[in-house]
Amino acid sequence: MCTFVYSGRTLSLIVTGSQSLRILVGIPTFAATVAPAKAACADRVIRLALLRGAMTKPDGTGGERHRTADRNGQPPRSADAAVAETEEFPTGTDSRNGVSERAVSRETAIAVEGLTKRFGTGTDSVLAVDDVSFEVEAGSVVGLLGPNGAGKTTLIKSVLGMVVPDEGSVRIAGVDVAERPKAAYANVDAMLEGARNDYWRLTVRENLRYFATVSGVDPDSVTDRHDRLLERLDLAEWADTPVRKLSRGMKQKVSLASVLAGGAEVVFLDEPTLGLDVESSRTLQRELRRLAEEEGLTVLISSHDMGVIETVCDRVLVMSEGRIIADDSVDSLLRGAASGTVVVESSDLDSDAIAAIRERFDITDIEELERGARIEVVAAGDDLYALMDVLSRAGVTPERIRTVEPDLEDIFVGLTREEDR
């Protein structure tokens, strides 16, 4: 028997077999239970759907829960499109950004090995960066996440040579920054948090020309590049205006433009969208993706704006207390946690039933309803089968079941919380 239940944003398909609910198919807003005979098929549906993190809405517009635009600033794909794309990469290749396929032919732009930095001495010392190692492939955009004090800025400054690490090595395009700093940083530029990065008394174009020269490029040879940058960042109209006369958001864009003015191949951006309005932020994100995809720009970006990281980045490094606690593609992180939580609503959920569930599962939230309750249960993968068994044995017939698709922020909070324990 098939039953469709729609509640708010949730459309649930309940497919029941002879006696009991057996399998929960967890698509973010599309929950289903199917009979045992359908299990194999359902498993495939689960995997395909979760692989894409697809989301369907009743109006069919699609789009993930928190993702308002894709990396190109385009509206999110429909679930069908997402699944169709997934079908092309059924073994888990990261089709979102093609990282896996392109990675094999890519060179390593940044290689950090065992980087350690301690500030101060004795009992008052702080281990800001603790034995950090990672690599960034050329042409990829990597996000650096972490709570305040996690060591992000120290890590970026250490890679840039502005902080001398106690241990470890940094290579940029294969060149050791300690041995040949000029060569290593020849094609590197940075936009650091809280810094102006440019001269406010000069015009926008004068800044681009000046910093192109400082980064080792004859500004007359990149005039077209500057024109394109100004156009794409919506600064063309202000090209001959002194930067000090521009709004904060515009200044931020000028700062980014001046970083890109010399054609740097590797750029470090610390909070690049800070102070930008939504439209400007999207423009900037779109330009970053374009530069990475079309011009092979390598970007290491630190931001507290999870939306920016989720939209722009191929991969995410999560830092906590000076260490990298997660290093994975955005999709893998989302995929790994996609079926992590299940919300069950039933009028049969009384204290005894909840106690029975709690014996085997973590319940993260309980909301009492007029009749019964709504509980949030941590259950992933095969746990879903077990959960359905427990519900069945406790005499609970779910009226609504849905999986909660976490966004990057949820994952980030979860990771750092685990680390704090």
Partner: protein, 267 residues
């Protein structure tokens, strides 16, 4: 595809770097003249107080030594301009977050810093020349103005001050908001410029002292560069290079320490 696009990005040389740094300085000078005009007005105000006040108190004695005072004041305005512009400039670059970009440049920070210093010296010369002309008009004094000799001697004299400016800038990078304290050093230049280097030979190795002596002889007595004993010129060059090198070494050591402490650019 345009011509520049077709040929692709070309590598910039030191010529391009010099042009960019000097052009920026020129733009700021012509676009924001208030700073320069303010500096000129304040300098002339203090000179007026010194000249008219001194004449009231010392009468003929001051008038007899007015050439020396004018030359000394000219050198002092040059020194203060060079010192404060380089030390304040480094402080501002730290604050703006542009210092890091200059540290990361493939040219290395040394050429950029020296070019910026040279640009400041050129600007300071322009301003001080206006002040000098005004002082000559106010006092009705005539000086020997052998431009070539004056430029060489004065430039070498203030190179040592540029060195002090670099050292002060380095300390600013390390300890941040101490610029006002370091600006007090400018008043020490008065002592150095008026130091009796002729009578006390060891004073010649201090910044400005020997240069001040030679500049007096150039502008008051009309001595040309080639008429100075070679040893005097050599000493002037040695003091200039020595203090500039020392100041730059202090700047480098300070930025290295700032990088170890993780405070480079943290303002």
């Amino acid at each position: 595809m345009s011509a520049d696009e077709a040929s692709g990005p070309q590598k910039a040389g030191y010529y391009h770097l010099a042009r960019a740094v000097l052009y920026r300085e020129f733009l700021l000078f012509v676009r924001y003249p208030a700073n320069a005009i303010g500096g000129i007005v304040i300098s002339l105000f203090f000179f007026g107080v010194l000249f008219y006040g001194g004449r009231m108190l010392a009468g003929q004695a001051l008038t007899d030594s007015i050439e020396g005072i004018i030359v000394g004041y000219f050198l002092w305005t040059l020194s203060v301009g060079a010192y404060s512009s380089i030390s304040n400039d480094i402080g501002s670059e730290v604050q703006w977050g542009t210092l890091e970009r200059h540290v990361m440049t493939p040219f290395g920070f040394a050429p950029v810093a020296l070019l910026k210093g040279a640009a400041k010296v050129v600007r300071t010369f322009l301003i001080s020349s206006i002040i000098l002309g005004a002082m000559l008009l106010i006092t009705g004094t005539r000086l020997e103005l052998h431009v070539g000799t004056i430029v060489v001697v004065a430039s070498l004299s203030i190179l040592s001050v540029l060195g002090l400016g670099f050292a002060a800038g380095g300390i600013t990078v390390l300890y941040k908001r101490i610029g006002n304290w370091l600006n007090l050093l400018q008043f020490g230049f008065v002592v150095l410029i008026s130091a009796p280097a002729l009578g006390v030979p060891w004073l010649k190795v201090l910044p400005l002292a020997h240069g001040s002596d030679l500049l007096q002889r150039t502008m008051v007595d009309g001595v040309r560069l080639w008429e100075f004993p070679p040893a005097d010129v050599a000493l002037l060059v040695a003091v200039a290079v020595g203090y500039l090198g020392l100041g730059y070494a202090v700047f480098q050591a300070s930025t290295r320490r700032a990088r170890r402490l993780g405070v480079l650019g943290d303002y």
